[in-house]
Symmetry: C2
Subunit: 191 residues, 2 copies
DNA sequence: AACAGTTTTTTAAACGACCATTCAAGATTC
DNA sequence: GAATCTTGAATGGTCGTTTAAAAAACTGTT
């Protein structure tokens, strides 16, 4: 039990260090040594835990996807109407613990690199399909059928676009404001 | 004059090869040798023309930005009403010669890497500001002042989001359909 | 509490591969 | 014959991964 715990703690620490290091230096050029320094460990120990650099990156992506999935489940649990659930999908993407520059940044990097890794692109496709089906389910209850698809594209692309911009930001983000803006966009699309 | 011509031809060829090679292999991992092979030249000759890998990448980005700027100017020239000009901004982003998988892909890669290069991020900021001011100018003529900013965010982020998705596509893109979808989104936001 | 044996964790150093860039010599164009 | 262009080979450096050995953590026994 205690043995298991150590492994989990190290995993978490190394993944957090990966997020920070990738944000600081960029996915393409960050080195194992830099990630290790960020975590106060050695490059060799990262390989001990994750097998390879690619394994570390995949684990980091899984970690972020899990965070996003949990944030969305929580929101869904309390939302009662289709519109509230639509807000909830948005809010999950702009949740306090998720909508930070380093995380938007690393998400962008993964996104850009997903086409070159079958494992990453698989994770990516699954996540996108889930968001998509959530949007469709709620929009069908709010709009006539012939306007659902356009609204879905508008909202889903909006979310992606906000993250894309956020990754470029030089100041800290304001999740509250982001959620408020997202609600305004929802209200614009579905009066 | 003829000497000048050769240099221009080579520049163009090498930049096109760069776009294809970066699309195939990824910005972070593509090598000079791969770009050279794509162009049917040697890695050394790329350095002869562009000085360094970073110089080549910057020139490629400038090339793409120029394309986008020209596409937008053309559209603006014929558009007569604010709504038509709004369509024109969208159409420029989804123009036939621009909205292809390799170009969306490389754009994404540059985007992801812009924060780590002062030169790239500068180009990026300038382009974004120009698109933004175009949007604002037209939207102010179409909407009450208190709804302009929300509409601008919705449309600009939508554009970014579409590119982001397009970069992941495994099939060829359909610029016609993309423009039609963009028009529908404009109509959704500005009834 | 102390100790010896076992397992898990850590890292310094070595390895091997890869890559951007330079350079000098040759090819091409004017 | 001079200027421009091209490239094979050499250079110098970087990085991911492996390895072997040490350190630390744990276990059961006395």
């Amino acid at each position: 039990m205690s043995r298991k715990r150590i492994r989990d703690i190290r995993n978490e620490e190394l993944i957090e260090a990966t997020i920070v290091a990738v944000h600081k230096r960029g996915y393409g050029v960050v080195t194992m040594a830099e990630i290790a320094r960020e975590a106060g460990a050695s490059a060799a120990s990262i390989n001990y835990y994750f097998g390879s650099k690619e394994g570390l990156m995949e684990a980091t992506m899984l970690h972020l996807l899990g965070k996003l999935r949990r944030a969305m489940s929580e929101g869904y649990a309390t939302a009662r109407t289709p519109r509230e659930r639509l807000y909830a999908v948005m809010d999950a993407n702009f949740a306090d613990g998720l909508f930070t520059v380093p995380q938007c940044s690393i998400w962008m990097q993964f996104w850009a690199n997903a086409p070159y890794s079958t494992r990453l692109s698989r994770l990516h496709r699954i996540n996108r399909a889930r968001v998509r089906s959530h949007f469709l389910a709620e929009l069908r209850a709010l709009l006539p059928a012939d306007r659902v698809e356009t609204a879905r594209q508008a909202l889903q692309c909006y979310m992606d676009g906000v993250w894309l911009q956020a990754a470029q930001s030089e100041e800290a983000l304001d999740p509250d404001e982001a959620r408020a803006a997202a609600h305004r966009v929802v209200d614009l699309v579905i009066p």
